[in-house]
Amino acid sequence: MLTLVDETTGTPAGHGVVLDVTELGSGAPVVVLHGSEGAEADYEFLKTLADERRVIAPSHPGFGLSPRPDWCTSVEDLSYLYLDWLDRIDAHDVTLVGLQFGGWLAAEIAVRRSPRISRLVLVDAVGIKVGSRGDRDIADVFAMSRTDLDARQHAVPETAPGDLSLAPREQVLHIARNEEALALYGWEPYLHNPRLRRWLDRIDVPTLVLWGEADGIVSPEYGRRYAEAIPGARFGLVPGAAHRAQIDQPYEIAARIRDFSA
């Protein structure tokens, strides 16, 4: 079992929630919302981003070492939780970065708007429906082998978890816990909110949508459609990256975010 954070070791976020938060660097704040990989797996990216920014990367309740209160079962719950938390930490001029599942969450937060958020970055985000009812817009991560999952998520094979019988026990525990949280929040409708795309035009901050060129979970075409639904959003492809683009190309993604938020 993993030892989760509590009131003393973690960061109280209101509503009975305690978050496991990674804070690095100083400067203009960048809040990074992780995907199913968890904040631990994003460390290289976060560290690079923190060279010139104050990086704040919470683990969502149920992920990483953050406990999940029973009531917290939806992306909507997470959205309001983080909107409140931005008030609570009195953050200003925030660049909100959402990675994959965290991209869905960041989009939900952005349509609800907060004066504390100045810029939005989505990286290989899920969360919307773009195709017809018979199209599988988002590959079914719960119905594929680990090998297939790794290949679709990682363009750089050595960054993938690989054979879990050889992986460190703690890493496998994190994977198991993170996937459970992903299923809880995203099982049905599968990793998207059917209503969200309609409201993306409420996003009123400059937005950058980055996409791994080799994303095998949600295609670059899906990413373009995402960007098209957000007023003024810029879309950028990232070579040498799959779904978890920030793990495949941590320096490139960090550099593009720095440029965008300069």
């Binding site: 119905a143 082998s145 299923a183």
Partner: protein, 385 residues
């Protein structure tokens, strides 16, 4: 003791195993010849009738998107059995309640089957197996909570007779719940719930339902039955009667030990033909994450029987097979070692075992084993009657 003939109604005529990835979820249904499926259904129903004629009860279940079980709608087959059998009690074990969107519909289906069978229905509830969460799009996280809310709602629907009620729970919302018709058995048909964990057994004990376990062998079974007993005593109740406990094993009775073992080898299809990849065996949230992590890291489950021989399965109490005297001895030993139980669910058909062989096994058990076991629960009436 009550005895229940159970068949999973498989479709065994499959391509060689290396040619498909999974017998569940993804095996394309073009593999199934509908005409053969219809003939198989004729014989499976006939086998339940044979069991009824021989004085056994009957049990059926429900699975989805799998060649191991051609019954994705248990209530439909239970309705057919209600009219095709005469004396047998009919156990549907179970309704996969955590996988069904509408518990009120289940309450209605079961009430109807109870009427059609003139009160011979026992209603089982199961959470649903891990493989099927994808096939039925059922969130594997918090399934237990969902199952129990569904059971509570079904029970309330059966037992509320003074007009509609609302249900605005965490997982299910309904308004104007007022089922027509209502069950013949009052206040409700007997209820069964499966569990293989001690925590789950305690919850079943609190509700007072029959606790059933499948293929858990001597040790696993003893632990969950004991957890039920302990819970009842700890909460001020009395030691529960044997009729609160049910065990499902693979059972084949021959005229001789060799004939019994030969039948059991065919039942092993049930264990050996379960090629399912890890992503369907270990969906996130179905089991505690630390346990799933061990599975992901390659540790095998205690209920993975693939590598066991028939002798080992018999030694573990998962298969009862041999001559009538041998089978009787195995069941008596099991009874002693688990602290008593009141229902034996006999998985008496699997895979390529043909009709004649299945019928011979059912009759041999009913005629030559059952009479010798009645001392285990001499005064037992069917549950709930």
């Amino acid at each position: 003791m009550q005895f229940w003939h159970f068949s999973e109604t498989p479709y065994p005529d499959l391509p060689p195993e290396p040619e498909f990835d999974s017998i569940r979820v993804t095996l394309p249904n073009r593999v199934l010849d509908p005409a053969l499926a219809a003939r198989l259904w004729d014989r499976y129903l006939a086998e339940w009738q044979v069991a009824d004629d021989a004085g056994l009860n009957v049990m059926l279940n429900e699975h989805h998107s799998t060649a191991t079980c051609m019954d994705p709608a248990g209530p439909v087959v239970a309705g057919a059995l209600a009219r095709l059998t005469k004396q047998a009690r009919i156990l549907l074990l179970g309704n996969p309640v955590a996988n069904r969107k509408d518990p009120v519909r289940i309450a209605e289906e079961m009430a109807l089957v109870d009427l059609l069978s003139h009160g011979r229905l026992d209603v089982g509830f199961v959470r649903g197996v891990p493989y099927e969460v994808s096939a039925v799009n059922s969130n594997p996280v918090r399934m237990n909570e969902r199952m129990w809310e569904a059971i509570d709602l079904i029970h309330k629907a059966w037992t509320t007779h003074d007009g509609p009620f609302n249900w605005e729970g965490e997982f299910f919302t309904h308004r104007q719940v007022n089922i027509w018709p209502r069950p013949l058995q009052q206040p409700a048909p007997p209820m069964w719930v499966t569990s293989t964990s001690t925590g789950g057994a305690a919850r079943v004990a609190d509700a007072g339902h029959v606790l059933a376990t499948f293929l858990t062998g001597y040790e696993g079974t003893r632990k969950v039955f004991q957890a039920y007993r302990d819970r009842r005593l700890a909460t001020g109740g009395e030691l529960p009667a044997d009729d609160r406990f049910a065990y499902a094993a693979l059972v084949y009775t021959g005229r001789t030990d060799e004939e019994g073992l030969e039948g059991a080898r065919k039942l092993m299809w049930y264990i050996s033909s379960n090629k399912v990849p890890s992503q369907f065996v270990l969906p996130p949230g179905y089991i505690p994450y630390a346990q799933r992590a061990a599975g992901l890291a390659g540790q095998s489950s205690p209920y993975d029987f693939h590598t066991k021989t028939l002798d080992e399965l018999i030694a573990d109490g998962i298969v009862f097979a041999g001559s009538p005297a041998t089978v009787r001895g195995q069941i008596e030993r099991f009874y002693e070692r688990v602290g008593g139980f009141g229902h034996l669910l006999l998985m008496g058909q699997a895979g390529h075992m043909d009709h004649e062989e299945t019928v011979a096994g059912i009759r041999a058990f009913a005629e030559h084993v059952k009479p010798g076991l009645e001392h285990l629960l001499p005064a037992a009436a069917p549950v709930g009657v």
